[in-house]
Amino acid sequence: MSAAGEREGMVRRLSHLDRRIIYLIVLICAAVPLVIGARVELSVGPPVRSLYDAVDSLPPGSYVYLAADYDPGSLPELYPMNVAFVEHLFSKDVKIIAASLWAPGPPLSQRVFDDIAPRYGKTYGEDYVNLGFKEGREAVMVSVAENLKGTFPEDYFGTPCGEIPMLDGINSLRDVSMIVNVSAGYPGIKEWVQQIATRFDIPVGGGVTAVSGPEMYPYIQSGQLVGLLAGMKGAGEYEQLLEKPGLGLAGMASQSSVHVAVIVFIGLANLFYFLDRRKGR
C-alpha cells in the first residue's frame, strides 16, 4: 500500500475510533484528578456572587425555606450545593425549614443535616426542620405559601408541626426571608419563580444542574431570581466564596479534565472529517 493510501486508511480508522477507547480516556480523565486530590481555583460569576451576598445578608434568627427538589440522579451536581447552602445558613444562624416536591428529596436533605448540624451545634426542631415530601407540584407551592402547617401537618419523622418549637409563629412562606431551591427539573426553581417569587414577593434563589442553567438566565436578569448556581461549577464557586472547599471544588478538577478531553475529541473528529472530505473531492 502506498504512503498516501496508508495515511487515508489511518484517518478513516481514527474517524471511526472504537468507543471503548473513548470511554477509557474519559474514565482516566475523570478518575485521576479525584485520586490524586487535584484542586482548582475558580473565577466566581455574577449569578453565584449575588446569591452568596443575598444569603450572607440574612440576619441571624431569620428563616429560610430550603426546597430540596432533586433526586439521586442529579446528586453529584446538586448535593454539593445543598451542603454549601446549609453550611452558609448555619454559619449565619439562620433557621432552615426544608421540604421537597420530589419524593426522593427528603432523605437527601436529611443526610446533609445529619452531616453538618452537629458541627455547628444545631438542634433539630429548634434550628432546622425537615417537613418531608408532598405531592401536588405548583398547587403545593401556592398552598405552602399561604398555609405552611396546613400543607405540611407533620414533619419527615411524623411529629406534628404544632409541636415543633421553631415553627411557632411561622404560618406561611410570608414569614420566611428567602426561598433557596436545589432543583433538578420540574417542579423546581422555574415554578418557584413563576408561582411564588412575584406573587408573594419572596426572594428566590438556588441551584440547578448545568444543563438547566441557560434556561434560568432570563429570570436572573429580570431580578426574579436573586442568584443561581449552575452545575458543579456553581457549587464549587459557592464553596470558594464560603472558604469551605467541599465536594464541588473536589469534583471540578475532574470535570475540567473531562471537558478538555471532550473538546479534544471534537477537534480531532472534525480534523479527521475534513481530511476525509478533502480526500473525497
Binding site: L17, R19, I22, Y23, I25, V26, L27, V40, E41, L42, S43, G45, P46, D71, P72, G73, S74, L75, P76, P104, P106, P107, L108, Q110, D114, N130, K134, E135, G136, A139, V140, V142, S143, N147, F157, G158, A210, G213, P214, Y217, P218, Q221, G231, K233, M252, Q255, S256, V258, H259, V260, A261, V262, I263, F265, I266, L268, A269, N270, Y273, F274
Partner: protein, 207 residues
C-alpha cells in the same frame, strides 16, 4: 349534559383560580385554597394509579414470559419489598426503608447519571461535525462555553469566563426568552380555550 356539565365545572374552576390570583378577597381565596387541596389529593392518587398500572403490566409480562420478563420480576420484587418495608417500619430517616434507599437507590441512580459523561464524549466524537454554517456556529459556541466553564479556559485567556457569561446573557438569553414568551402565550391561549369551552379534547376524542 355529558358535555355541558364538565364544561361548566371547568369554566367555574378556571375562572376562580384566575380571579384568586389577582384578588386576595376571602370570597375567592377560600374556595381557591379548597380546590388546591383537591388538586393535591388528586395528584397523589396518580401515584396509586401509576403503581397499580406498572404492577399489572409487569405481572402480565412475567405470566406470559414476554420480553425482558426477568427484569419485571426484579421490578415487582423491589416494588413489593420497598412497599412492605415502608408499610411495616415507616419511611422516616434511620429505618430500613431509608437504609435501602440510601444504599441501593442512591448509588444506582447516580451511576446511571454518571454514565452520561461517557455517552456525551462518544457522541461528541461521532456526531459533532462542522457540516454546515449553523453546525459550525453551534460547535464553536459549545467549545467556547465548555472551555469558559472550566479553569483551563481561564488559563488560556483570562477574558474567557467573561466572554462565556456574555454568550449566556445575550445570545442565549434572547433565544430562551423568545421560546419562553412563545410557550407562555401558547399556554395562556390553550388555558383560555379550555376554560371557555372552545377546546374540549379533555372530555374525550369525539367531543
Amino acid at each position: 349534559m355529558k358535555t355541558e356539565v364538565p364544561v361548566v365545572i371547568a369554566f367555574v374552576a378556571g375562572m376562580l383560580m384566575i380571579v384568586s390570583l389577582f384578588s386576595p378577597h376571602p370570597v375567592f381565596a377560600g374556595p381557591a385554597a379548597v380546590m388546591r387541596n383537591w388538586a393535591i389529593v388528586i395528584t397523589a392518587f396518580a401515584y396509586v394509579l401509576g403503581v397499580a398500572n406498572i404492577a399489572r403490566i409487569s405481572a402480565g409480562t412475567v405470566r406470559t414470559r414476554g420480553r425482558d420478563w426477568r427484569y419485571k420480576v426484579v421490578l415487582l420484587a423491589s416494588l413489593g419489598g420497598m412497599l412492605g418495608i415502608g408499610l411495616a417500619g415507616g419511611i422516616q430517616g434511620g429505618g430500613l426503608f431509608d437504609w435501602s434507599y440510601m444504599n441501593v437507590m442512591v448509588p444506582m441512580q447516580s451511576t446511571m447519571f454518571s454514565l452520561l459523561a461517557f455517552f456525551i464524549a462518544s457522541a461528541a466524537y461521532r456526531a459533532f461535525r462542522a457540516r454546515s454554517v449553523e453546525a459550525t456556529l453551534l460547535l464553536v459556541t459549545a467549545v467556547i462555553v465548555m472551555l469558559g466553564r472550566v479553569p483551563v479556559g481561564e488559563r488560556l485567556w483570562s477574558g474567557l469566563p467573561a466572554f462565556t457569561e456574555w454568550i449566556m446573557e445575550v445570545p442565549n438569553m434572547a433565544a430562551k426568552r423568545g421560546i419562553m414568551i412563545g410557550a407562555a402565550l401558547g399556554a395562556i391561549s390553550t388555558g383560555l380555550k379550555m376554560i371557555l369551552g372552545l377546546e374540549r379534547s379533555y372530555l374525550g376524542s369525539d367531543k
